[in-house]
């Protein structure tokens, strides 16, 4: 057989241009709202205008009389089908439609199903609800105070607004470290509520076929398989009769992890009416009712001794809204917040957390972060920067002195994580070099002498992603594992089916490159399919930077399994023994006889045409990957800002980001992820805020009030990399989608604080708006 022409296989490490682009740049994407089914009806919600009120009655008669209205659904109707309440991802319950009370502004009270969305909206305005207003609870401090109204009074045994207490680390050892400390630095800070606000809001088309009972739901889901199982458990529909199709998603960032009332009501309505029902969330509905992020009130203290951090103590109070619907592994009530020791070798740490109900929207999701890691990273990076000021040492030097050293990996942290690999000093050095740090510090001092305020902020974050080992990490009882199914067709072309679901991350390209790397096919010859539960293997989906650590590993493993079978076929074709064959990219070669070889394409054809006696035909496999540990991406970010002393406005002069996410499969896509994450991190630091007045009215309920940066406000980014492979991932990759959003906010805030630190400023709360900076300038006597 002729030796194939030598060509470069564009596997791991190649910036392959994205295969998915073709449909998007032609306007031929397929988002759920692009789907129109015959006979389809439209659902619109009536939402509560009040944050807390008893419902004395709902009159739907005028709405029902509107021509084109097919049904008006209330909580009372759902209760008849046992669907008025649903379980949350954190083991609580959540109202699908309000029955007894409304518990946050924007809560779903009734739904109109009509022939058009316009008619449904009209009819919503004709529903009369008799509300009896109750006192609104708008902060966890207020919620836990004596005499606060009990929000969840429908829960048996619930006599307060307390949800959980959860702790990690060693209290005694930490107390001891503080008793021995020669200095203690503390910080009280609030990581405010913000919202992932993907550009596409949530929604679905639910289609229950009255003839077959098959329920097909096209929905905005980052976790279609987990959602199918939950639908089966909640609605009692046999799981094989449910098909979730998550089509193209217009972003997710954690917002499309939970199950929302809209999906449930649309499905119930389709079942009851026998026609498909579409629910399209509007932007206000998205911002005021679906998964928010953060809302953590944090107190942190560092024990310092001879320039080293010897202890960390953290108290955190979480505002969870009206239902505890955080999306996170069940064992961790505060997600992975206990990664709060960060990149530092801290011998003793203790973290205490408490959660409370308030009259706000539920759903603490990880907005581009792995289960509350961004809150943790923010706190430790702010604390470390302040500790350097208090000790009078350079913040970069202080970090370097306290980093976990490369030789300490695998490193067991004081709160129980085992960090897989890292070289924090290398990422820091690279950042400082790109920045020209020493020169910049000089320029900062010179500028100050001229009356200009320049600040340099650093953040050396460590993430924990890729959850996780199935015995430990579960959501709703489901092990956090993911699958990959690979079929090689006779002509050497392949289909890869995954349990994860891209929201823009470029899976169709990256995962094809993994197969390319392992089997020597070109990535163009691998079609990647996701999102359809009838046609992909089981798994928990895409969030927490899980796709590459879990499904990426599954893809590598299933490819290797197929290669093992291919070797047997190659031995048959080459009339050699398996042991005498050597794998070179894309072919098996007889050792010592390079002219005798067979390509993966030839082997694929043989798998269907010419296999050894007794061998099972075909060339395909499926692999479910259970990660032995999580991965720990890291990096150092540096931000330089200048503050306008006349207005308090601050401008970003430089933003340098060095990331180490292990081996990069598609460097172009990795850099795209980092720049997007930096932008969202900047947005959170500078402007994004979901706030409430004392009556519980949401401020930030549309994109005129919830500010998102455009190309005009967004700074330019300078990217660098170091590569420290994960020792336990088959490709050495770690995941990167969220690193920048985790690391960036502290770097931006530290930069603004750094400009004012010499005048004693130690804290500014996010979003760092110019009015807050102006107040700090005034107080420090620096305002012009």
């Amino acid at each position: 057989m002729a030796v194939s022409e030598e060509q470069v296989i564009r596997g791991v490490g190649h910036s392959v241009k994205r295969f998915e682009d073709g449909r998007f740049i032609r306007g031929r994407g397929n988002y759920f709202d692009d789907i129109t089914l015959p006979g389809m009806l439209h659902l619109e919600f009536l939402r509560s205008p009040l944050a807390h009120a008893r419902i004395n009655g709902i009159d739907t008669s005028r709405a029902e009389a509107v021509p084109g209205v097919v049904a008006v659904v209330t909580g009372e109707l759902l209760a008849q089908h046992n669907l008025a309440w649903m379980p949350t991802l954190s083991g609580d319950t959540q109202a699908v439609l309000a029955t007894d009370k409304v518990r946050f502004q924007g809560q779903e009270v009734a739904a109109v199903i009509a022939e058009s969305a316009y008619i449904a909206k009209d009819a919503c305005e004709l529903i009369d609800v008799d509300y009896e207003p109750l006192e609104a609870v708008t902060s966890p401090q207020q919620a836990l105070a004596e005499g606060a109204p009990v929000i969840r009074d429908e829960k048996e045994g619930q006599t307060s607004n307390h949800i959980y207490d959860w702790e990690a680390g060693d209290k005694t050892a930490t107390d001891h470290a503080f008793a021995e400390a020669d200095k203690v630095v503390s910080l009280d800070t609030f990581y405010p509520r913000c919202h992932p606000a993907p550009l596409e809001c949530c929604g679905c088309v639910a289609d229950v076929d009255p003839a077959t009972g098959k329920t097909t739901i096209y929905m905005t889901s980052q976790a279609p398989h987990a959602h199918r199982t939950l639908f089966a458990l909640v609605a009692g529909i046999p799981e094989h009769k449910i098909r979730i199709i998550s089509p193209d998603l217009g972003g997710g960032f954690g917002n499309k992890v939970p199950i929302y009332p809209g999906y449930v009501v649309a499905t119930a309505a389709s079942l009851l009416i026998g026609r498909p029902v579409k629910w399209v969330e509007d932007r206000t509905g998205n911002l005021i009712s679906t998964g928010f992020a953060r809302d953590y009130h944090m107190h942190g203290e560092l024990a310092l001794k001879e320039g080293r951090i010897t202890g960390l103590r953290v108290n955190m109070l979480s505002d969870n809204g009206a239902f505890f619907a955080d999306a996170q592994p069940t064992i961790c009530k505060a997600g992975l917040f206990h990664i709060v020791t960060g990149s530092y070798d801290i011998p003793a740490a203790h973290v205490e957390t408490e959660g409370a109900y308030t009259n706000k929207a539920p759903g603490g999701v990880a907005y581009r972060c792995s289960f509350r890691v961004t809150e943790a990273s923010y706190l430790i990076e702010r604390l470390v920067q302040n500790a350097a000021y208090e000790l009078g040492v350079d913040p970069a030097d202080f970090r370097k002195q306290n980093f976990i050293k490369p030789e300490q990996f695998p490193y067991k942290s004081a709160t129980g994580f085992e960090y897989d690999s890292g070289d924090y000093g290398a990422a820091m050095e690279k950042t400082l070099e790109m920045l020209g740090y020493d020169d910049l510090r000089r320029e900062q001092a010179e500028a100050r002498a001229e009356g200009r305020l320049i600040g340099i902020g650093l953040a050396s974050f460590t993430e924990v992603v890729g959850a996780g080992h199935g015995a430990e990490y579960k959501i709703a009882g489901l092990r956090m594992n993911d699958g990959a199914e690979l079929r090689i067709h006779p002509t050497g072309k392949a289909v890869l089916k995954l349990s994860v679901k891209s929201q823009g991350q470029g899976h169709e390209t990256t995962f094809a490159q993994i197969v390319a790397e392992e089997l020597g096919l070109q990535p163009e010859d691998v079609e990647v399919q996701e999102g359809d539960t009838d046609h992909t293997p089981y798994g928990l989906g895409t969030y927490a930077s899980r796709s590459t650590p879990v499904s990426g590993a599954a893809t590598a493993m299933v490819s290797r399994r197929i290669r093992a079978k291919a070797q047997k076929i190659a031995a048959h074709l080459l009339e050699a023994s398996e042991e005498d064959l050597e794998w070179q990219q894309g072919k098996f070669v007889v050792k010592g006889a390079p002219e005798k070889s067979t390509t993966i394409q030839d082997i694929a054809f043989a798998a269907y045409t010419n296999i050894p006696e007794g061998m099972e035909g075909g060339l395909e496999g499926v692999y479910y990957y259970d990660p032995p540990n999580m991965t720990f991406p890291f990096g150092t970010y540096a931000v330089v800002v200048e503050i306008d002393r006349g207005t308090g406005a601050w401008k970003v002069l430089r933003c340098v980001a060095v990331d180490d996410c292990g081996v990069r499969i598609n460097p172009m896509i990795v850099e795209g992820q980092i720049m997007g994450g930096l932008t969202e991190g900047f947005a959170i630091a500078a402007m994004e805020l979901i706030d409430f007045d004392e009556e519980g009215n949401c401020i930030g309920a549309n994109l005129m009030d919830y500010l998102i940066p455009t190309a005009w406000e967004t700074p330019k980014f300078e990217l660098g990399e170091t590569v420290t492979p994960s020792p336990h991932h088959p490709l050495g990759a770690k995941g990167v989608g969220e690193s920048a959003t985790v690391g960036a906010p502290a770097a931006f805030v530290n930069a603004v604080v750094d400009a004012l630190a010499y005048a004693g400023v130690r804290n500014l709360e996010m979003p760092v708006t110019s009015d807050k900076v102006w107040a700090a300038l005034q107080e420090a006597g620096l305002a012009e």
Binding site: G27, G504, A711
Partner: protein
Amino acid sequence: MTETAVETGRFTYPVTVTVNGAAHSVEIETRLLLVHFLRETLGLTGTHIGCDTTSCGACTVLLDGTPVKSCTMLAVQADGHELTTVEGLAPAGGLSPVQEGFHEEHGLQCGFCTPGMMLTATALLAENPDPSEEEIRWALSGQICRCTGYQNIVKAVQYAAAKGKEG
């Protein structure tokens, strides 16, 4: 109780609109938003809805060559005008320089903002074939992208500008 407009019936109006070169004469509800006319009446689903308040630009189309946000414009206001949507960007059998630039420079991730971004960029380059980075960023400042961080979008427009000069 007074009856609302919806209980008394709705109003329709005949319009003629040219979309991507093809004329459409349709009787539509007067309150129909332009974006719904494009997506639902004509089935051109490449134009997206992101915010309902003219903030995000996902719904941007060209009205006689000028970018407009179709989520806060009535379809009847487009009567007698020419519209270009993302479906009308590509020349037969190929891609426009802007489309090519978005692909080459990784100027898109989820793709939801991409049609609006590309149409605004197309209008910019028609008016200013050689824009500075600042001019590009200013021209795109009515569009939100949640995924890319804009840097590659700027590069995509620069790619298209360079391509335009060659052509």
